[in-house]
Symmetry: C2
């Protein structure tokens, strides 16, 4: 054993980073080490923005300085095995690091679908790997036509960024709508309309049957028979939890293939915790396993695990899910269960809608429309979810809705909640759409 | 009696407008009338923005169309008296309107301090009167030097707008700091620094002793002896509730000089409600009368009164106060009790601070710093207030804090609340400052 630390964290992305900083906040003296595979860790949600906004992988890396300043050791080596009895982790060079408490933040890997041609050159994924992303960035400078397989958040954000470079972009989505897993249809339609307005070619209800080419991609053949010219293919159809280390160590794996954890983020070994994409998630609404994976959830889990390693204190009530994206100038956000998800989960649903402007009066510069839909449980009147389409405040408005869900607020409480307003920053107090959407639901009851 | 209506509302600003719309939502058949003095009602918070952004009073008026579409009658006449026995309101022309329920939304009037020279031409107030504001706008075209007496929100916002026109602007504030009644010192300093950076001449701890001139203003003489050249003087030292109608009708007036109301927004006459600046306010924290007046509070009270006229249903737990402003590109927001207010109210206070960026990674375009301070009650760990300095999301972040106060969240609940993040819209999930400010307070305990 080359070293023994009090807290060993495997993985230095959103969860690992936050777990280390949280542990340090709550314990000034503990020795804390982060073990990671790569020299630098890309900011996960920022990856699409490397390609049309930042143009530099280095500008999208987690700042090591913060860890160093907080006296967290960084060791850039790959972990090969966990020896639970000895409480050590074996590295790729067969040396070992001892731990008192271990936090697994091993993240996730993009799903590689079994499409013929998937291994051709110029087929890419949103890999959290700086060398890999640098390679994509370089190749993008030499291409014209891009096909994106998958119209979820990743696909949509890459499409928008590629358009900023003037590339010809086609999204191929299997489901009837882009973003269908996270929004109700009317919001998916807004997203697709904005993508088309931005010049993205959107093809839905269609399977990518084959990626065609000799060494490099030439085209993508669709289930419709159509063939789309492609110099590059980007795959964005989801991610899978990285659980091999945990599995090999005999830790329980959950139904959604994440490392099983209890509400304290503790695995089946009381000295090993897990947080982030690698950990199993449970729904705030039903307690059932859910496939939701977000950097914000990862950090929250790490805030829980990073405290509980020193004594079980924080509980995880299950994930709500609050997220947002941007297409051109259109912000889209959702929190909790959208209408169809609430219905699928057996709720008797009533919705409320409101439209406002995001500044007031509407003659204020850069004022734009703000749409909101709130989803309620008819029986209790409690809010289950919300969807927002707006401008720069979309994400924080979505966070307000997320907080309302977390606090189990009723429509009446939401209609009279104590918001503030300002001409340059918000809708008018008369038209404030979160309150008005709740009023709309109330009068429908 | 020329007409009898089910619901009569006096005043058509934020509260009157919202009371009418709320009443209509909850009762499709009731006859609802809004009585107002002026043909058009300026959007109250938008008034400063007429002068450096909108350049047109008409662009800052409440939209009558919304009332008309909702079958609310508008009568442009002044109310002279309330006859509670007969349940009528006498108009200036001595005709009468009968009511079943009456909602007083008579608003407030800028305070006119007893400074010598206050009645000179070119001394102005933020009057909610279109003709008056048009006059100010016209005169502004011909002047160069402006003195603003009062460094609160109104004064600061006017100063910033006047600078956009290139005027020489001086703020004279009696207290040691601008915005001192609503922010702690470090936030006041940020505001003053930004005002100075914008070219505003800020003079504090100084009284305006006299406004000097023959017919028109020429200069303002200060308690320091200094004299400041002035073509126009704007007074922004606060507002006073308009309560004459209520007082004359024998309704109780509160300690803070507003029309006394119970938690249902009902006055001492069960058929008469009051909402907005004219109504007495009670603190969410102490239950004691408070002088806080905001359009957002007005609208919320109107949402309560507008429902309760059909049967007492909604209760007002007292005002928290959530507000924000902008100086140049700096957003400043506060909710609840700032540190000094919490201490004055007898709380044993502990604060938490955090600094982040409002986008992530920080290389994202238009990314700027976000500072937050949360104020907690040490005994219960419950949040009492918050202050924020940031960009375009300042107001909605302040609303998140306001909601946390309303739901009596503890520091631990705030540290792990379920926020979402996006590179273009928010701080990183690791650095999300509301959660981090709570963590900062926890580790200080």
């Amino acid at each position: 054993m080359i070293e023994k630390v009090d807290v060993l964290i495997i993985g230095a992305s959103a969860a690992g980073f936050t777990a280390a900083l949280t542990a340090r906040k709550y314990n000034k003296n503990a020795s804390i080490m982060v073990l990671r595979k790569e020299e630098a860790t890309p900011v996960p949600c920022g990856i699409p923005y490397i390609f049309g906004t930042l143009f530099d992988v280095k500008k999208n890396c987690m700042p090591d300085g913060v860890l160093i300043k907080n006296n967290v050791k960084i060791l850039t080596k790959e972990a090969k095995a966990i020896n639970r009895d000895k409480k050590t982790v074996t590295l790729a060079d067969n040396t070992e690091i001892g731990y008192e408490k271990l936090i697994l933040c091993t993240g996730s890997t993009p799903v590689k679908p079994p499409i013929p041609g998937i291994d051709l050159k110029n087929v890419f994924f949103a890999q959290k790997d700086t060398d890999y992303l640098n390679d994509v960035l370089t190749r993008l400078g030499k291409v014209k036509d891009v096909v994106i397989i998958g119209g979820g958040f990743i696909g949509v954000e890459f499409a928008d960024e590629f358009r900023k470079r003037g590339l010809n972009v086609t999204i191929v989505e299997l489901l009837p709508r882009c973003l269908q897993l996270v929004f109700d249809e009317e919001y998916c339609i807004m997203a697709e309309e904005k993508l088309r307005e931005r010049g993205v070619h959107v093809i839905t209800k269609t399977r990518a049957e084959e990626i065609v080419g000799k060494e490099e991609v030439e085209k993508v053949r669709l289930s419709s028979g159509e063939e789309i010219k492609a110099d590059i293919v980007l795959i964005g159809i989801g991610v899978r939890a990285n659980t091999i280390l945990a599995q090999d160590a005999g830790l329980k794996i959950g139904e959604q293939r994440g490392i099983w954890v209890n509400e304290y983020m503790q695995t089946t070994d009381e000295n090993i915790f897990a947080a982030g994409d690698c950990a199993e998630k449970f729904s705030f609404f039903t307690g059932k396993p859910t496939g939701l994976k977000l950097a914000s959830i990862a950090c929250r889990e790490a805030r829980i695990a990073g405290v509980n390693i020193f004594g079980l204190k924080r509980k995880n009530p299950g994930v709500i899910g609050s997220f947002s994206t941007i297409i051109g100038d259109l912000g889209l956000g959702a929190a909790g269960l959208v209408e169809k998800a609430a219905k699928e989960n057996g709720f008797d649903v009533i919705t409320g809608q409101a439209v406002g402007m995001d500044k007031h009066p509407s003659a204020m510069p850069e004022c734009r429309e703000l749409k909101i839909k709130l989803i309620f449980d008819r029986k209790s009147g409690v809010v289950l979810g919300g969807e927002i389409a707006g401008g720069t405040t979309t994400a924080e408005l979505t966070n307000i809705v997320s907080l309302m869900i977390e606090r189990k607020m009723t429509m009446d409480e939401i209609a009279t909640f104590q918001y503030g307003t300002h001409p340059a920053f918000t809708c008018s107090p008369v038209g404030y759409p979160i309150a008005n959407a709740a009023e709309d639901a109330i009068v429908k009851m």
